[in-house]
Symmetry: D2
Subunit: 400 residues, 4 copies
């Protein structure tokens, strides 16, 4: 992993593809070794900071990069070709930043966005809906936060954590600095994949929360109407995920391609002198490539749909939201399947020697197998069918 000089995000006409490409190249050389070591991704995070990618989505007026969501998706995909963990870090950063900005009151949002850019903040979250809800209680003019969450992606390294907590009969969404007193990080992420993410547990013990850290202008816990845009947070999250699945699939194929061209030996019964001329290698590589192309194409279609929905602003209707969501969940199904299939089947093309731990080629499958369990793919297929047959999407807390 090499280091990067700082990209000044606010500068005009940033070439985000180039910036993401530089990060990817810096990550490539020791990707297998870093996965094997499984250390907290501090150096990787510095690389993201230096690249300017953290501020890609912030408006130029706030000093941000002014990139589009399409730029963000492409950056995530590009990095995932080399390191799915780092792509996840960047994805969840975008998610938790945007979730905060979209929920914030007008002035609050600008202030957070400016601070995020100038402080080069890295964002995390702690809202796993399958755990008991965190509790927010009034404490004089302030509030106190208590709770414990698993799968708190990015949180242990985050400058700012976006989270949801119960207050009274309702919910509030708030942000809190990662090092606020009473916030404890378990540092206990120990899955067989996405090893360089920090997706462990977090505990909030009587953490003080200022009123200004609660997002939005409504009374905390009130059932204030949300902007239509906020209804796109979950689809946005899912599409960021889709993009790192697509990138992972593409990256695994690219490794197989390089190995087949440089190292693989033809099978004895093949009658050809190079593995890449074997009729079955050609056919099955082609089959996998079609899957990867389909995943990328559906991710792009979904990206355009989501950007269109976001552009609708306050005019976004529920049917429009559902149409965009269905496009995204279709891409989720395809990219999950494609990535799982590709990361497992490339070995059939490369042969037995490609299982050497020095290559670390199994990390692609381990990464994608781990993260594709975020929410069950058959429930996403269900929603695609639900949209087609019933014109709607099931409201599952924070998943669709």
């Amino acid at each position: 992993m090499t280091s990067l000089s700082l990209v000044t995000a606010g500068a005009p006409a940033v070439d985000w593809d180039a910036a993401a490409g530089q990060v990817a190249e810096a990550l490539r050389a020791d990707a297998a070794a870093r996965d094997h070591a499984g250390l907290a991704p501090r150096r990787e995070l510095e690389l993201l900071r230096a690249s300017g990618l953290l501020a890609l989505l912030n408006p130029p007026a706030h000093g941000g990069g002014g990139g589009s969501f399409g730029d963000a998706f492409r950056a995530v995909r590009r990095i995932a070709r080399v390191d799915t963990s780092v792509a996840q870090l960047l994805s969840y950063h975008y998610l938790h930043l945007i979730n905060a900005l979209w929920r914030a009151g007008a002035g609050q949002g600008e202030q957070l966005s400016r601070a995020s850019v100038s402080g080069r903040w890295f964002w995390g979250g702690a809202s796993n809906p399958r755990d008991p809800e965190s509790q927010l209680t009034a404490d004089g003019p302030d509030f106190r936060l208590n709770g414990r969450k698993t799968f708190a992606s990015n949180a242990s390294l985050a400058d700012r954590i976006t989270l949801r907590a119960q207050i009274g009969g309702g919910f509030a969404v708030l942000t809190v600095p990662g090092d606020r007193a009473g916030v404890t990080h378990g540092n206990d992420w120990d899955a067989f994949g996405q090893r360089l993410t920090e997706s462990g547990t977090i505990a909030f013990d009587n953490v003080r929360i200022g009123r200004g850290e609660i997002l939005g202008e409504a009374e905390p816990g009130s059932a204030a109407p949300l902007s239509p845009r906020v209804s796109l947070v979950v689809p946005l999250h899912q599409l960021l995920i889709v993009n790192f699945y697509v990138g992972t699939a593409e990256g695994a194929l690219a490794e197989a391609n390089a190995y087949l061209r440089s190292t693989a030996r033809p099978w004895q019964a093949s009658g050809v002198s190079e593995a890449r001329q074997d009729p079955y290698v050609l056919e099955h590589y082609g089959e996998l490539d079609v899957q990867a192309r389909a995943a990328a194409a559906l991710a792009d279609v979904a990206g355009a749909a989501l950007e269109g929905a976001i552009a609708r602003g306050h005019d976004l209707t529920v049917p429009e939201r559902h149409a965009a969501a269905a496009a995204i969940y279709a891409a989720k199904v395809q990219s999950s399947r494609a990535a799982l299939d590709i990361t497992s089947r490339i070995f059939e093309l490369m042969g037995a020697r490609a299982t050497a731990t020095s290559y670390g080629f199994d990390r692609f499958w381990r990464n994608i197998r781990t993260h594709t369990l975020h929410d069950p793919v058959f429930y996403k297929a269900r929603e695609v069918g639900n949209y087609a047959l019933n014109g709607t999407i099931t409201a599952t807390p924070l998943y669709s």
Copy 2:
């Protein structure tokens, strides 16, 4: 099947989607009955003529519609949702027209194009490379054509037939009116699918061919360099096919959707009151919908690639041609698989009563099963792999 008033193709700003939609609607009501009857598609052809779609690709300067290839692909796809046979008729018309125009000498092309528009010509072909080559021999200033071809798509109804024949040590491509003396149509198409196409045999017995009917300015049979554009004829053909596969898949899904919403009964063990709420119906419909979406997305990506390649004109390079071809063959693999899977599996969602012959829902599978045998799908997967691993596409006569 209802009739259409004539669209004047040359008129400005033709809405081709609307024109194709009108044809599709006119074909919808009796699609199953027409498939069952299996008559020669004379009335269907009149519908195409009246719609103006036959001249979609001809330049406005020739009185043509001036539509783009994208318009043509969308028209084919739209019609295939209702009637894959008619979509094939239109596809092969475009293929054989464009093959003639791209190979023609400058004046010859304009003349053919103008005549085609004003005469509302319907084009066919007779070049199946798996049959023995037709033979062209000099006969004074003229030539004589002899041969016999199977799978002569459109030919028996065509005003003009484009074909390839051997002369000397080389080949010539020529056009001949469908009713020229010595041309005999077998009218023997008898497959279980695509029943309304006319894809039977054709025989040429000493058919007189004028010099002006031989396309291009070079000596017939000479190895004159072809324009780069001509190298795109096969990919164009394949992408027209892809689009009627995509439309067929979409049409089958749409029928299943309508049936599920109107007619299907919930399964006893489902615990729901409507079939379209069955968790397995939702999941599997979703899976099929993802496949259809992926096929459409890849067809669109391939369409953009092909239009880009065509736009390169004489500057088109071999690698650029191969890149466009690979995108098209990837779409071919995906659309073949998706259409076969969808047209067979929709019945699992609709249930046993959907097999009644009155619905004719099996025609979708019979149509797609028949035409997807045009060339083996595993050889297309092979070419996708070949492009990815070796940067090339195998030159198979008239198939890739």
Copy 3:
């Protein structure tokens, strides 16, 4: 279709495989033509009668063949290789005969069995649980039957129909001659597959039913305990089905094999001189063959499980019943998938000319697609999972 001299079923040591083989051979020559004609299978039924197969399961003491259920399964499978309709006729005959015999009181059963053998009865049924229940009402010493059922397999040609009817708060199962006054056959079977079965509607208008035609000794409609063996009727039905799916898959593969060896042409790009040397033909034929072998192996495993469960007689426990049922439903899932895949994909090996209607090769897919909708395959997969995870099988009326 050739005719058969009569096999005397009661004779010792009947070679049932040979008998079924003779029926299959007699059916082979004009299988495609008979499917195309779609006539009521009267001649086919005579063939079954002459073969002795109708009495295969009846005990020798009753003049029957004394064959095992394994013999019956093999006979069904063998015939399905050539004609899935006729295999269905024989399967449903066995089902409705055995259902009657297992439910009958002791003397009643022997009487029915003897009459069935001597009269060479062909059995049918009329119990589709998805239709409203038929009603049985007392009428003096007799009863009256009213109702209407769809998918009344075999009934219109049957000497004896087994059916279920509601009486009071319960149900009775009874048999009635097919020509009893008040029984009307719709003769309206019109699906695109299994065209030679007679699976149309049946109506019962005040049909007189004698007490002796109600099966069993309990009061009609009483909740009398059934013998454990009766709980195996549905699994038996499903395994008969499995066996004709397996036979259909094997038959389709055999046709493809013969065509590949005799008629198919090698693909141009294959570089081989015979289609059956094409690397992709070999691979994909092999894949299909593996599926067929797996389906046959699971059908055999399930057959042994069912025969074991039947042999347990009154000692059969619920867990034993469920274990046998799970083995059968696993075979149902595999054979459904295999048969659908094989009957569709064989064309990819044979090529475009194999779609000629003269071959009629599409009948394999049409047959299997039609009958595999009898009950949804995903619900059978569900039961396999249910047994593995929860040790039970969902009681769905007449389906599991």
Copy 4:
């Protein structure tokens, strides 16, 4: 891992299933931890020794267990449910022992067999045909062996190594003690799966080989006719492999089953209170279970075919050998696919928390992914097709 008291192999009526079950139970508790540690399987080998399983196939007359090949396959399968590495050790032991005994001259074989039983020998091999051939050269009355082989399964721990070497224009097969001077073990096995096997490199530097260590009575390197039985060594090898694939698939499913019953949480949108009641969990578990059942059934069918072929002894014909081989390769295709699919997809049923390294559930996929690359599965599908279409099996050195 607990220890076992010694089973005296030669004792009458050994219950091999029980013996294998005891080994499996002893391996179960720390299977994940042992995989993680990745130490040489010395303790595991002692467990096999103590179980008596190493002598299962040796005749009672030699002090051996007198078990059948079916017993051996079941033992391998049973152990693979818990530890695929140890199942591989046992499989390759049987392979290399039997290869030696079948090739040995009469007295030589008995001597080797007796010595193997009494010395509780563990057998390995060093014949990877994709490496350059080892060379055997005469050296007075003795011979010298030189060469280097990769994937020398079991060799580094083996008491006796069976290997093939070139001599003159032909080959000899010989056995050599694992600790003979000049034999060097690389101890460099470092794949991401089958971590507890010792499948690294081996080098032979001028290793002295006595005439009696060369198997068979013919002149070393002569083209002496082999016994028909020897033609079954490769199919036997493949079927041993099949059985540990089947066991791995079954073991992974069993782990998922236990996890689903004890630990997994229902998905929020499922509407059920237990994960094992989720309709999609039931369906997909069922699908995987069907695959595992099919793999086991085909392995059993193939086992019976192989035992039948072995029983034919010197009368075994080439077509009989091919029929048995085709049954085995069909089982290989099915078990490879089933095991890969099951070991990857179980996570979709268990959910994200099942990726914790403490469970080590990914080892099933890593193990099966690694060993299924032994030879390409599409070449096995090809041979199944080859047998069906051409009645033959391609002779690929040591692979079919």
